[in-house]
């Protein structure tokens, strides 16, 4: 009995070892594939010896400032408009809910260039809506506002999706009990529902921000590539490449984006681990 048990454990161990090798090799290969380019980027940036100069060049500083401002404004608008929408989608049924739900998924799967074209056709100077703004003396396309709108279009759905899932995870019984305790629907939302959904809202905000920061296609078409006005960091990388000077400037920009993305991902992990235990 014990002997056969021992043999069993042994053969299980060998079998496991076999699996480890068979699965481990391709896994390791892929990890290397992801890590090597990033390592190369970092090595090249540092070994050029001009990283500090490149990081403080006007192209880099202008795009950095613009990216920081536009992605933050985008996030703020996404949270303000997206939170109520996410709540309604999670809690209410209304005519057209299915269509709205579908519409929210579309920017996630659509190539961002398509979003750019659509925005241009709608809000450009001769666009369906843009023509009226133009008549009133407002231009949207090819301004910093257009950058924000392009980012909002492609990134807000990430926030709304995650926030909706967060609200859905809050058992309605909490809200029911709060209302029997005399809390108005608004007080219930801010004191009960929102705190319970908080980890999801923060996670959604981080995803949204990361997506806005990396936005390229829609911005390029709808807002153009004007340094200091619409040239965010991803666009600046393209410009720096096309100018044909040195590869060191795009490398500096890339390293900044890699750093920003890493920080956001770490934040996401911290938030996920600190989610208050549900009862």
């Amino acid at each position: 009995m014990s002997a056969s048990g021992h043999a069993d454990a042994n053969s299980r161990a060998t079998r496991r070892l076999g699996l480890d090798w068979v699965f481990g090799a391709p896994a390791l290969l892929f990890v290397a594939f992801l890590a090597i380019p990033l390592w190369a980027l970092a090595w090249r940036g540092i070994s050029s010896g001009e990283l500090a100069d490149n990081v403080t060049s006007s192209l880099v500083l202008d795009s950095l400032r613009l990216s920081a401002i536009t992605s933050t404004v985008t996030l703020a608008v996404a949270v303000m408009v997206g939170t109520p929408l996410a709540y309604l989608l999670a809690r209410r049924s209304f005519p057209g809910k299915f269509a709205v739900d579908l519409l929210l998924d579309l920017p996630i799967v659509l190539p961002p260039t398509v979003a750019g074209v659509a925005l241009l056709v709608a809000l450009g100077r001769r666009g369906a809506v843009g023509a009226r703004f133009d008549a009133a003396g407002y231009d949207i396309a090819f301004t910093t506002t257009a950058v924000v709108l392009a980012q909002l279009f492609v990134s807000a759905p990430f926030y709304i999706r995650t926030a909706k899932a967060g609200f859905e995870s809050v058992e309605p019984v909490y809200e029911g009990v709060a209302s029997t305790l005399g809390a108005s629907p608004l007080r219930t939302f801010f004191r009960v529902t929102l705190p319970l959904a908080w980890p999801s809202l923060v996670a959604g905000a981080i995803l949204c921000w990361a997506r806005a920061l990396s936005e390229l296609g829609a911005t390029l078409i709808f807002a153009g590539n004007l340094q200091g006005r619409t040239q965010t960091m991803p666009l600046a990388i393209i410009s720096a490449f096309e100018s044909g000077q040195s590869i060191d400037v795009p490398i500096a920009l890339s390293l900044i984006l890699v750093a920003a993305a890493s920080i956001l991902l770490l934040l996401l992990r911290v938030v996920a681990n600190n989610a208050p235990a549900r009862m």
Partner: protein
């Protein structure tokens, strides 16, 4: 006075409860899915009936379809403890209790919290979060939170179902004592028959969205109004019979196993009936002893199975038909406490005489 008489259709389910209650502990008892919890939701204002009327103690009409009255949950002054408790996990005990009295002045609020903390033995736990407390403590916090705003009606939806039996018994006694002290009307939902009997001042038996019978638990247990109520209350011995005579308040019932004389002013006086008697009301007679009352039904029966439940034995005893007719034998279920079981030496032999005590026999119509 609390009263409810509503109708609500939810898919195929028809909820139509109707009963009244004074300042007492009302237990809503029934199988799961019978509409007990939905009734509480309707009373709390979280479920809107299609029609009918709900009146809350203190005179407020919470819902009345004829006058289109429908108070929101915030205005019903009802304390509601749900099965999952739903304590706010991001708040401390104090914040949970204060949630319902946020509009009170600060002094009054802290006095009230101190009162409730003392009342429910939560001293020293005020700054804990729900997940840092035991199940019993969480229960008490949920009760304190529901009682904070001095509700005129307390709703308890299987609040102890997640707890272990000894703790459940303790909390049950505490809730009953607390309710008496506050002189509140409380509706308590359970599907545990022992809990129902132990707690109820008034027992409301539910089935399929309707109230089948309500009254003091003693009366309901002793005189179920229908075969279904007898079944739900685990009467166990439900014997088909027929009324053969009725004179001067005494009904004579004939069954294949015995003839019984039943004195029950509410019993049917003719037709087919079921004779109901609970297992604890059948006694095993010592040799040479007769029944206590002249109307007790005495039978010869054989133990076919003996199931020990620790403090009692459930005996399954076969009785043959009148005149030794074995083709129609019937199994009676008899409960016997462990002590008399040993004194009588029940396990030493199988054949005994049993007595169905007359005052515990009840009749329900048999369709």
């Amino acid at each position: 006075m609390f009263s409810i008489d509503i109708r609500k259709r939810i898919g195929d389910f028809d909820l139509a409860p109707q009963f009244e209650a004074a300042s007492e502990l009302v237990v809503l008892f029934g199988p799961s899915g019978c509409g007990k919890s939905l009734t509480l939701q309707a009373v709390a204002g979280l479920l809107t009936p299609d029609s009918g009327r709900i009146a809350i103690p203190g005179g407020a009409v919470a819902f009345d379809s004829t006058t289109r009255a429908n108070l929101p949950p915030q205005a019903r002054n009802v304390g509601y403890v749900v099965q999952e408790l739903a304590l706010f996990p991001h708040m401390t005990v104090r914040q949970n209790i204060e949630f319902g009295i946020a509009s009170w002045p600060k002094d009054r609020r802290s006095v009230r919290v101190r009162q409730l903390v003392a009342l429910l033995n939560l001293e020293g736990l005020e700054d804990r979060r729900p997940r840092q407390m035991s199940g019993g403590q969480q229960q008490r916090v949920a009760l304190a939170r529901a009682l904070a705003a001095e509700p005129s009606l307390l709703l308890l939806d299987e609040p102890f179902s997640a707890l272990e039996a000894p703790l459940r018994a303790t909390l049950r006694r505490e809730v009953a004592a607390l309710r008496r002290r506050l002189n509140l009307t409380a509706l308590f939902v359970t599907h545990d028959i022992g809990e129902a009997y132990a707690l109820a001042d008034r027992l409301v038996v539910y089935d399929a969205g309707r109230v089948l019978q309500h009254g003091p638990p003693r009366d309901v247990f002793r005189k179920p109004s229908s075969h279904r109520v007898a079944e739900l209350l685990e009467t166990r011995n439900v014997i088909p019979g027929m009324i053969v005579a009725y004179a001067e308040g005494v009904v004579v019932v004939q069954t294949p196993w015995f003839t019984a004389r039943v004195r029950d002013p509410e019993a049917p006086v003719r037709g087919d009936v079921y004779v109901c008697i609970r297992p604890e009301h059948i006694i095993i007679l010592r040799d040479g002893r007769d029944a206590h009352g002249g109307d007790d039904v005495v039978l010869d029966a054989t133990i076919v199975e003996d199931v020990s439940m620790g403090n009692t034995h459930r005996l399954y005893m076969r009785a043959d038909g009148i005149g030794g007719e074995t083709s129609t034998s019937h199994i009676f279920e008899v409960d016997m406490p462990a002590h008399p079981y040993e004194v009588l030496g029940i396990e030493t032999r199988a054949e005994w005489r049993i007595a169905l005590t007359a005052e515990h026999l009840s009749l329900v119509p048999r369709p």
